[in-house]
């Protein structure tokens, strides 16, 4: 095993490949940092460029883009309260308050350190035990996926900011939004009002970027005081922050838990980095001894959110690189990348192309290191964004968001969805409705429905297997428990008021 990894490193440790990985990570960070542009887009754009490269170089570039694209998303989350990608939504919750307290540098330091460590651990998991994990993952049937999704949906209760009723309404709105378009399984058109544009439904990216970025921009621009540049004093360089080792060491269990959640959620198809990000944030908050500090600049919140999305990279690559099967949008594109170079994804990938495969592992490890390095060097420049006047910065972001939304599917319709979701988000904020449950409902609703209906096809319409499968039953019990707990907490709170 170690010999093979050594061979892998030997195949990428030449100037050309190192430079390619470096460029990939740098470009990925840019795509990640710009709201609306994502890792998927970076890979889709660069895929044709890899045509002319050797397999190792081409795939190294794509891996660099992937790691960079996921990692860069936290930058605007912390600085502007606008997530750069859907997988850094939860990073805004505590990252932005930290920056407002003048602790942007600390938020960056935490993110860089724990993203790097989480990425590293998840890649080691990928390299050493992925065949075992993949063989467990393929045993899961729609019954288990349904139960896991129900459990994840109960997270809405923890994201409701006080009013359970408002949270549930928002969650249902999210689920309803996701039902627009052709239904799963039988392609029955729902809520299309005869408009062909609606047949494909709403895409995740414009909805999420609209709800967060556009809403935030509307909020800021409607408040005159916010527009004026605040003079937040903050340190720019890692060494000026005066952080001690124990500041980081305190987060070790939080980091480990978030990384495990990230890897697990990454392996399960359909959920992806955005769900990992939110789920591990909520878990960290629920497990914390002082949950009330979350949302007000709690370092643990930043660590949980940012460890999990990087850990999800290794997770998502588990099924791809062990049994040759893609689990999400990015890995489906990577399959295209493999095939372009004559590598047919499948169980014989390692036997037939061992050198390239271990080269990919080595490239991933190298990209992870470059990611940390680039961010450490870059943070002193990024943080200065805080001093750019808002009336200059925000219009530029609006334009980039619209370009990003259009780029998802090359349809102007998605740009319209983006703006409409921004307006909905703004109205919600004014009415003090929480936005997170919309997001969770929107992401999880279709997974829930699809697996429910697939499960019913399996069981010929019988609901019993949903509760007799041990794993499914365990998750449903967990979901019920989590829901009851939330109700109790809610009662207690209203009793004290």
């Amino acid at each position: 095993m170690l010999e093979l990894i050594e061979t892998g490193f030997l195949s990428i440790l030449n100037i050309e490949t190192i430079v390619i990985v470096f460029i990939g990570v740098a470009l990925g960070l840019v795509f990640g940092a710009i709201p609306g542009l994502t890792a998927v887009m970076a890979i889709a754009i660069c895929l044709p460029i890899t045509f002319g490269m050797t397999p190792i170089n081409g795939l190294s570039l794509l891996m660099g883009l992937y790691i960079g694209g996921v990692s860069g998303g936290f930058i605007p989350s912390v600085l502007l309260n606008i997530p750069g990608t859907p997988s850094s939504i939860a990073s805004t919750f505590d990252g932005y308050p930290m920056a407002q307290k003048g602790e942007a540098g600390r938020a960056f330091a935490l993110t860089i350190v724990f993203s790097f460590l989480a990425g590293l651990l998840s890649l080691l998991v990928l390299i050493f035990i992925s065949p075992v994990l993949a063989s467990v993952a393929i045993q899961l049937s729609p019954f288990e996926y349904f139960a896991i999704t129900v459990f994840a949906l109960t997270m809405i209760t923890s994201l409701s900011d006080g009013s359970m009723l408002k949270g549930l309404i928002a969650g249902m709105l999210g689920i309803s939004l996701a039902t627009v378009g052709f239904a799963p399984i039988d392609s029955y058109p729902r809520f299309t009002f005869g408009l062909p544009e609606l047949e494909a439904g709403f895409n995740v990216l414009p909805v999420l970027i609209g709800l967060f970025a556009i809403t935030e921009i509307l909020k800021t621009s409607s408040d005159r005081k916010q527009i004026e540049t605040k003079n937040i004093q903050t340190a720019y360089r890692l060494k000026d922050l005066g952080l001690s080792f124990s500041y980081f060491f305190k987060q070790k269990w939080n980091w480990l838990r978030s990384t495990i959640i990230g890897v697990t959620v990454g392996i399960l198809p359909g959920l992806g980095g955005s769900a990992a990000n939110i789920i591990s944030y909520v878990t960290a908050k629920n497990q914390s001894k002082h949950p009330e500090t979350f949302g007000k600049g709690e370092p643990a919140g930043v660590v949980a959110a940012e460890s999990s999305n990087n850990a999800a990279i290794g997770g998502a690559l588990v099924p791809l690189l062990s049994i040759g099967i893609p689990g999400d949008g990015v890995t489906a594109l990577l399959v295209g990348g493999l095939m372009l170079h004559g590598l047919n994804p499948g169980p014989l990938l390692f036997e037939q192309n061992g050198e390239v495969m271990y080269g990919i592992f080595a490239a991933l490890l190298l990209a992870n290191a470059f990611m940390a390095l680039l961010l450490i060097i870059g943070m002193r420049f990024f943080i200065r964004v805080l001093h750019v006047p808002r009336h200059v910065l925000l219009p530029i972001i609006v334009v980039l968001c619209v370009i990003g939304a259009f780029g998802v599917n090359n349809r102007l319709f998605d740009a319209l969805v983006l703006v409409l979701c921004g307006v909905i988000g703004y109205i919600f904020a004014k009415l003090k409705f929480p936005v997170m449950p919309i997001v969770l409902g929107f992401i999880l609703g279709p997974i829930l429905e699809t697996n429910l209906r697939r499960g019913l096809m399996h069981s010929n319409g019988d609901f019993l297997p949903f509760v007799t499968s041990p794993i499914a039953a365990a998750f449903l019990l967990l979901a019920a428990g989590s829901f009851l707990m939330a109700i109790r907490k809610n009662r207690k709170r209203s009793a004290t008021i």
């Binding site: 899961l140 049937s141 399984i185 169980p347 009336h391």
Partner: protein
């Protein structure tokens, strides 16, 4: 203008802009509203990049086929090709984009059998007859049914027998109303087998479901699963094409095994209907040259388990008419059976 008003104003104009174009977009466009190219523009064709619309996501067989062809067609026609993915609604989103495009030859659709099937199932209101076909470029003769490597049935006949003996028991991974669903129904009709359709998702999800023993039969392209057949995880009971082919390890066809079903996946280029014949002809000639004579292209296409096959526009249209009729008859027969 006050600076704090800038963002809302910008947003409002973005909204208006996208709103107007979106509404203009789905309004019925008849030929007269479209901008026809002038004679000099036709002569100069192509003098700017041509956009290939792929109505599926990036990374799949349609996408890879389009990108590869685009690269070599670009060399042949001395222009560049850009591939744009417009996924959604089973391919109807992207197809509609070309249907309603200006007929100037700079936007072309690359798609497969699903264009015909979507109309037959009422998922879209148009099919190949609403376009001007520029030819078939590529065939996949490797549509196959695979089963677990240690399943008690390893040939098409054994599979049919097993399915007849235990009606409604063997599960078949498919999308209801999709291409593979037609294959399943044709198999049932030809053999009298009774299978249980189960939706598990796309091609890769089907492989996972078969690996995890959640389904019994998976219809899939041979190329996607060749590795699994080689290592014994899965076995192919036969291919659905008209004859065996070395590219698919000479797997016997269903026809050879006495089961009269035949499916071939074809990939074609199509322009908006009003496109001038001269433009379509120029494109078709270049396509013929690349597909039939460009060895570098042919070799690469075969490495994706697809067979470069050029069929000229009129013949391709007739071929697609025939295929569409055979699908239609199949669906009709099954509907009357159900009644």
């Amino acid at each position: 203008m006050k600076t704090h008003m800038l963002c809302p104003v910008l947003l409002a104009s973005a909204l208006l802009f996208s709103g107007c174009t979106t509404i203009g977009f789905h309004a019925p466009t008849s030929g007269s509203e479209k901008k026809l190219p002038s004679a000099s523009q036709i002569d100069a064709y192509p003098n700017r990049p041509i956009e290939i619309i792929v109505p599926t996501g990036a990374g799949g067989d349609t996408d890879l086929g389009a990108r590869l062809l685009g690269r070599y067609l670009g060399e042949e026609m001395d222009t560049s090709f850009i591939v744009t993915n417009i996924a959604g609604a089973g391919g109807s989103m992207g197809s509609r984009e070309v249907l309603e495009a200006d007929p100037d030859g700079y936007k072309v659709l690359f798609f497969h059998n699903n264009l015909l099937i979507n109309k037959l199932y009422g998922l879209s209101t148009f099919n190949h007859n609403d376009f001007k076909i520029a030819g078939i470029a590529l065939m996949d003769h490797g549509d196959t049914f695979i089963v677990h490597g240690d399943a008690p049935y390893q040939t098409a006949n054994e599979l049919a027998q097993a399915a007849i003996e235990q009606p409604g028991e063997l599960s078949f991974a498919t999308e209801v109303g999709g291409y593979t669903h037609l294959q399943m129904m044709a198999f049932e009709e030809a053999t009298g087998a009774d299978l249980k359709p189960i939706d598990v998702g796309g091609a890769s999800d089907k492989l996972v479901a078969l690996l995890g023993n959640q389904v019994d039969i998976v219809p899939i392209a041979y190329g996607v699963t060749a590795d699994y057949i080689e290592n014994g995880d899965f076995a192919s009971v036969g291919v659905l094409s008209s004859e065996q082919h070395a590219l698919y390890d000479n797997t016997p066809t269903f026809l050879e095994q006495g089961i009269d079903i035949e499916f071939e996946k074809f990939f074609f280029f199509a322009f908006p209907q009003e496109t001038p014949d001269a433009i379509v002809a120029r494109f078709s000639e270049a396509l013929k040259e690349v597909v039939e004579n460009n060895e570098a292209y042919r070799e690469q296409a075969e490495s994706y388990y697809t067979i470069p096959t050029y069929i000229a526009p009129e013949e391709a249209t007739r071929y697609m008419d025939d295929v569409s009729h055979s699908y239609e008859r199949l669906i009709e027969r099954l509907e009357t059976q159900m009644d």
